[in-house]
Symmetry: C2
Subunit: 349 residues, 2 copies
């Protein structure tokens, strides 16, 4: 059996209606609403076919039909290819979005929180955003300064201007000259190096050159390692997790609890981010419907993600999580605009 043009139309009509109402849709509804002028009986026949082909489901014999994951997938794919063409069309909405992002915030953290919030408020779904992740962590600058007699603070700047600090306690006071020498040593040796490249031989060589101050070298190296490690669990900001309560199919205790937990612990959101980043070259926006979801306990949800780029190999992810019966059209537009917006904000920086 083949998905001919009429079947497609009917399928789309079913899905659209279901997105609106959230209730199984019957043959009569479709026969009336549509411009394709067919009797309910004909629709019924076609529907039976669509069930057989797996695009729609029947909760029970005498109920209407609801879209299956496969059905949603068809709808979304359709939508995505449409989007390709009419890229410009919704310029107006872009402007709306712009208002909400306000001026490119002074602090990255604040910007991200704001984006997440704007996304969840706009869509009425739960939203997340991951802080841009630096794939290659190259050291840019190291500076030790004496803060108190035997306490120095290490400032470590990595590519992308992420700054890390570490306070180091030392047993014996250190004089200005030695400090200067250490700074020179650290910078000349380590600048431009990726973290992975700092091996034992380099460290021991540095220690040798540092002479008496070898102990501090270790501490600094540790601090460097530490500051990179802390970055490994990437930061994720969320907003509007409570939106899931707006959708009865997700709001029962079991499901809601799982989703809320995911949003609080962020572990699973991290998985989503990694999944997205690993596919990010293919296409801007990714849609995971139901079972396709990268994480187990979102099998009843749809997850839409997009990546934004901050610079050379520095990516972040935005995502929204909602019911499978999601307003994909709106969500896709919003995501596309937002990810473009983010790109351009960061380009300007």
């Amino acid at each position: 059996m083949t998905l001919d043009d009429r079947k497609k139309k009917i399928l789309l009509a079913i899905i659209k209606t279901y997105l609106d109402t959230g209730e199984p849709v019957g043959s009569r509804t479709i026969s009336k609403i549509e411009g394709l002028d067919l009797s309910s009986a004909t629709i019924r026949n076609e529907m039976a076919d669509l069930v057989e082909m797996g695009y729609i489901l029947q909760p029970h014999t005498s109920a209407g039909r609801i879209p299956s994951d496969k059905g949603y997938r068809f709808y979304v794919d359709q939508l995505m290819s449409e989007k390709e063409q009419q890229l410009e069309e919704r310029e107006r909405e872009t402007d709306e979005m712009k208002d909400m992002l306000v001026e490119k915030a002074d602090k990255m953290e604040r910007l991200l929180k704001q984006v997440a919030r704007s996304l969840s408020v706009n869509t009425n779904y739960a939203a997340m955003i991951s802080a841009p992740r630096y794939n290659i962590n190259r050291l840019k600058f190291i500076q030790l300064s004496r803060m108190e007699a035997n306490r120095i603070v290490a400032v470590i700047v990595v590519e992308g201007n992420m700054i890390k600090n570490q306070i180091i306690d030392i047993e014996e006071p250190i004089d200005d000259e030695t400090l200067l020498k250490l700074n020179m040593l650290l910078n000349t040796t380590l600048n431009g190096m990726a973290i992975e490249d700092i091996n034992l031989s380099i460290i021991s060589k540095m220690k040798q050159q540092a002479g008496e101050q070898a102990g501090i070298i270790s501490e600094v190296i540790d601090a460097v390692a530490e500051s990179i490690k802390a970055d490994e669990d990437l930061e994720i900001y969320t907003s509007g997790a409570n939106n899931i309560f707006k959708y009865p199919e997700l709001a029962d205790n079991e499901r809601a609890s799982e989703i809320i937990t995911a949003f609080e612990e962020k572990k699973q959101l991290t998985d989503i981010v990694y999944e997205t980043l690993s596919h990010s070259d293919e296409k801007g926006i990714q849609v995971y419907i139901g079972e396709e979801s990268p994480v187990e306990n979102m099998k009843d949800c749809s997850v839409v993600t997009a990546t934004y780029e901050l610079g050379e190999g520095i990516h972040g992810t935005i995502g929204i999580i909602g019911p499978k019966r999601m307003d994909y059209d709106k969500v896709l537009s919003t995501m596309k605009k937002l990810s473009n917006e983010l790109d351009s904000i960061f380009k300007k920086t």
Copy 2:
């Protein structure tokens, strides 16, 4: 009517039973379980009195009784005064807690997250912890370092060793000597000052002394101001918000959504922290039952908070939020131990 000894016993019995079961408790249940050997009829009479006095409620005529806020308050007060005496008794539990906190974590953030987690896992309620708040923000150390030709990084350390960074772009390259001079100037002028005390006259005086580099002074001052401002909305870590789903009386959509939102947006948690800190001198632990809650949408919950001290005037708050029918006994113990534990961890530092 007076709350005589027998009434007290019955009231406590009712509350304890209700804490266990979560269902209205009838006269027969009490008459059987207790060591006070009274018939159900007598209990009924007393119960009628307790209802009249406002300690318990009757959901409907033919149901058992449940504690009112006033009843819980009586119970908690009772419990608190008991706790005063038998302070040592539960040494064993302390040890259990210690295991969970693992070694005093390397990073404050990680420690706080861990504490929140341990608290929620231990109690099965939702937990929060606020990062220690520095009431008086005194500057301790400022350091400018050149990172690239015309980009310097400012490191600002305030009392309590909180470190802030700011990258400052400058139009013209700056030589080492000037940088050194600026550092001297900044440190000698600003060290030890509270943020509030840095007024215009000081700034203009500094600018004067800085000569050509006056522009940088402004930027640094801005950065200083900025780094303090960012601290104003205090950081709060949460854990186990999903625990509320374990308690049917909180798990219906309306209520759950409100609580989840509070935990996600943190605004209301902030209010709780302020409320707690403002009363923290009175007593270590505070219990807000139902309507007593500092925030509107936790009127169906009980909130238990405690403060911990990191040093001179530097306080933080831990809190748990759960149903009014909460295991206050366990929660109070846990909180007390935990806040002590935190105190001692920070003392050692």
